[in-house]
Symmetry: C2
Subunit: 347 residues, 2 copies
């Protein structure tokens, strides 16, 4: 525990067998679980059936800068005899165990509107200049409809419609919408039925607007006309989407809606992240072994044999690393979640 806690800002404590503390579920507990597995073999004086190497990295939330370079550098040394990689940074959908076999990619955009050469006082200049902030709000409002429909031509069309087989699979997945609503703290979700909701969580692209840089974002009031404002928004990528194509679709579209405004301000659209979705082969021996392990483990713990539901879950930097490892080493990467839906995580 010491090593894992060494760089933590908040102490972890154990209460009635549960682990509490910042980062307990994301991702100290899953890391500990693997260490405990090795410890169990040691305590029983048994030989491990496989050789185990750990890579523990704690900078995911700030971009894991240097991780990819480290992996590349260790390709022929630390990683040289590695056959399989397991990452445990994902969660179950419900209280039933689940395996993650895919993750959405992410195209992250900056849309910058630049106008006057410096910030202006709205009391003096308001009404005389065409404000970059008004322009930016105007084009952001054309990205997505109130009901969640992406308005950028071509984005939605690139993705195959839900097949009957998929519909059936989604319908069979155990998922409690009320529990999900309670967890988030909303009384209405984007879709009111399970299949639509899960499909938009996993297999359709989505748009999120994260914020605006350059405008007044502090508490209180300031009567400024910001001279240059940059919106940050992202489109989650799913199979059939090509980030290069999405970049062109978004850029062309925003420039076309901006042109209609006839504004003298300048628009610059940049795609700063272009990550493809990741999809594993669920029939790979690693996944088959994972299914058996989960069934056996939960049989011992709960006395039942739950069916692992294969889900595609969140995108994060670890998944980017998984994709990279897959591409670089052509090794099977397996995502083995330990986190239940009820665990509380903070960004």
């Amino acid at each position: 525990m010491y090593i894992i806690n060494k760089y933590s800002d908040i102490v972890i404590f154990i209460l009635l067998g549960n682990l509490y503390g910042r980062g307990a579920s994301d991702n100290k507990a899953p890391v500990l679980a693997w260490i405990h597995a090795v410890e169990a073999y040691q305590a029983l004086s048994m030989d491990l059936p496989v050789n185990v190497k750990f890579v523990i990295e704690g900078m995911e939330e700030t971009g894991s800068n240097g991780l990819d370079a480290m992996i590349m550098a260790q390709r022929d040394t630390f990683f040289s005899e590695v056959d399989y990689i397991i990452i445990s940074d994902c969660g179950w959908l419900s209280r039933h165990p689940a395996l993650t076999y895919g993750t959405r990619g992410n195209c992250y955009f900056f849309a910058e509107v630049e106008g006057p050469k410096q910030d202006l006082h709205s009391g003096v200049y308001g009404g005389t200049v065409i404000e970059p902030m008004t322009d930016l709000i105007g084009i952001l409002d054309t990205l997505i409809s109130p009901s969640g429909k992406i308005l950028i031509p071509g984005i939605r069309e690139a993705v195959a419609p839900l097949s009957d087989e998929e519909w059936k699979m989604y319908q069979d997945i155990q998922f409690d919408m009320d529990n999900y609503k309670d967890k988030i703290g909303v009384n209405q979700l984007m879709y009111s039925n399970k299949v639509d909701l899960l499909a938009h969580m996993w297999r359709y692209p989505t748009v999120s607007i994260h914020g605006i840089e350059g405008a007044f974002s502090d508490p209180g009031t300031k009567t400024v006309i910001p001279a240059k404002v940059t919106a940050k928004f992202s489109i989650r990528q799913v199979p059939d989407m090509d980030p290069a194509m999405v970049k062109k679709q978004v850029t062309d579209y925003l420039h076309s809606v901006f042109a209609k405004r006839k504004s003298p301000n300048k628009l610059k659209v940049t795609m700063v992240i272009g990550a493809k979705p990741w999809l594993a082969d669920t029939h790979h021996p690693l996944y088959e072994a994972g299914k058996v392990a989960i069934k056996r483990g939960h049989s011992v713990l709960t006395g039942v044999h739950p069916k692992p539901s294969g889900i595609s879950s969140n995108n994060n930097n670890n998944f980017l690393v998984m994709i990279m490892i897959t591409l670089v080493f052509w090794m099977a990467v397996f995502s083995f979640p330990y986190i239940t839906v009820s665990s509380r995580q903070r960004l």
Copy 2:
């Protein structure tokens, strides 16, 4: 100079007779000018024709907290024998001297959209929740058209149209549009003719969107779905407008456009500043004296007798104080600008 510089963060220096330094034009130089006038009388061993009291306050940009209370507290002491008040915190429109006889007021709004109980990860929740940021962008986009037309019903209608007499007055005002564009650093203004531009600078209401609190506003990327976002925007007030009415118009309108989105999120609209416009009587003896003084001063300096153009200029906290002084003491307040259009000010 010592007293004025004591609290300044950047040293003022004099080069070829010009004063350089942070706050030189706003507002150390105008303050110094009045002090020098008194010094001139003293140097010439002449009695001042009037008694002069100075109120120097340096916290305007952070709201001048306490200034109004101080003025009220000094009503029967420091201010008891004051007949006229002169404030020199405004500017000329061009290189010709000008007197300010009015200022726009300001209704400053917070529009808060609240959704999930905490920020969410767009990789996990994107597509399942109706995001407060999307809702906020949607309603902000209904405030003003790309061409500057205020879309809130009743706002524009409350203001009297430009009369022929006003049109003539605006047409006669010396104002160089190219110089103005250069100063701001834009190649196109909201209106391409002088009268429209000046009218929207002074006598029509305008909307500015200042920024959004609660969303991601730092450099770089963050894949957050903000749970609660608050937009800051303001509407400059002009004669015929009533802040109480504007509050109702804006609140009703935003709630009506928000209702059309059928969002489960909560909207709260608050007017945090409701300042009326200020308009002086330009035939008051104080203004007549000001006109004579400007004519005489510039005659001496430049050899010409420019006609002071009466303008209504910016709104700032000093003007709020002027309004308050007018209301409390019923004293004539006179705004006497020293700052030319070419001076560079920073917010």
